[in-house]
């Protein structure tokens, strides 16, 4: 009968290492290339970056205007550029609109400002369902939006990389940028959560 999904394949850990070793044998991996790229992924690209952008937009109207007009330029002011961050568009939430980001075809995300996409964002569950039944999906994930809030889903099918600009919670008057940034999580930047003011 038809083949299974390759039940006989070598374990992925061995296949990944084999790919590296094969390229190494041909001296195709420059010294430090993997290490440098891994540092980018593990350290430099971080949702704290996006959080700083949001906090600045909350306190500085001119920056907010720039972020909404030219997200790439606004992120560049912090040095947040590079692969998967070449064309950034910020999506403005309001009390009656929740923007949500997905990539149904693969898993594109704005790495420099959001960090690498989390496992759940790459899951078939999220990719298949959120464009169609976002309200149920968000509720299951812990965000129970009232019917008065419309949901708009943005599918990352080309080279634009989106980030959500949440609205500033009322109870944060007088907060510093740093304190404001602390309530802007990766989930908030993707649009599946809203900033929560600790009580």
């Amino acid at each position: 009968m038809a083949h299974d999904s390759h039940p006989t394949a070598a374990p992925i850990a061995r296949r990944a290492q084999a790919l590296k070793d094969a390229l190494d044998r041909k001296k195709l991996i420059p010294d430090g290339f993997i290490e440098d790229f891994t540092k980018l992924m593990e350290v430099d690209w971080d949702p704290a970056n996006g959080a700083r952008v949001v906090a600045r937009a909350w306190v500085d109207p001119a920056y907010r205007e720039l972020l909404l007009r030219d997200g790439t330029a606004a992120c560049e002011q912090f040095g947040y550029t590079g692969p998967q961050g070449e064309y950034i568009v910020a999506l403005e939430n309001t009390p009656t609109l929740q923007n949500v980001i997905v990539c149904t075809l693969c898993s594109c995300t704005a790495w420099p400002v959001l960090g690498l996409p989390p496992d759940w964002y790459k899951s078939f569950e999220y990719r298949s369902r959120v464009v169609r039944e976002a309200r149920t999906v968000l509720r299951e994930m812990g965000l129970d939006l009232p019917e008065s809030v419309a949901i708009k889903v943005w599918d990352t099918t080309a080279e634009t990389r989106f980030m959500v600009l949440p609205f500033r919670p009322a109870a944060t008057e007088g907060w510093s940028e740093e304190k404001l940034a602390s309530i802007v999580t990766k989930d908030v930047l993707i649009g599946v959560a809203r900033p929560i003011v600790p009580t």
Binding site: F33, M41, W120, S128
Partner: protein, 212 residues
């Protein structure tokens, strides 16, 4: 291609495996090999210029559907990347299997792809457009849930990018802007829609001006 990867709107999957704000997202990688997936991908795409990222996306789409669905995310990146190194003549499947000490199944064969159409006048924000009713055998970034659907342009990118239906096959690819096109979710999913609008980022070549 109308492949298994084109998941938007597919019913039957369960709950998303996540509760909001439950994770710090550190460490970024959970297995000691995971960082190699993107590392070796960007080695080929950025440094060696052996292939481009559109080709990588398409290589993953070309995985046998059961293999695609069964493989975790970074496994798919490894298979797509390895497939391109082999197809481009840099490595052979035999040496990969020898080093892995077992089978190393790669993507299914590449097809021709297609060139971008001739340049046309750009659309403007506010224009009503229809997604072309085309059935592309090769790589495309038009998710099937918007094929033939009518929407409104809310943004035109100020940058232009290679047409993926060509670039994904390693062909010369004319650059085009993309458009954020907003679709009324009821046009996409009928009364089952739980979204007000879905906005999809579409290359100019996928769009036509809508009839009044």
């Amino acid at each position: 291609m109308d492949g298994i990867h084109d998941l938007g709107g597919t019913n039957g999957f369960g709950t998303v495996p996540h509760r909001i704000n439950s994770l710090t997202y550190k460490p970024v990688f959970h297995e000691p090999w995971e960082h190699l997936a993107y590392g070796l991908l960007f080695l080929g795409a950025d440094r060696l210029r052996t292939f481009n990222v559109d080709e990588l996306r398409h290589a993953i789409e070309r995985m046998e559907p059961r293999q695609y669905l069964a493989a975790p995310y970074y496994d798919r990146i490894v298979v797509g990347t390895a497939s391109l190194y082999v197809e481009k003549g840099v490595l052979t499947q035999a040496e990969l299997e020898e080093l892995a000490g077992g089978a190393f199944p790669l993507a299914r064969p590449q097809t021709e792809g297609r060139a971008a159409g001739s340049p046309r006048p750009h659309f403007e924000v506010g224009d009503e457009v229809v997604v072309t009713r085309e059935f592309v055998r090769g790589h495309t970034r038009m998710p099937k849930y918007v094929r033939g659907k009518r929407g409104t342009i809310v943004h035109r990118t100020s940058v232009e990018w290679p047409f993926p239906d060509a670039a994904g096959h390693g062909r010369e690819a004319r650059r085009q802007p993309t458009y954020h096109v907003s679709f009324d979710a009821r046009d996409l999913w009928g009364e089952t829609a739980e979204v007000s609008a879905v906005v999809v980022d579409l290359w100019e070549g996928y769009l036509e001006k809508a009839d009044e």
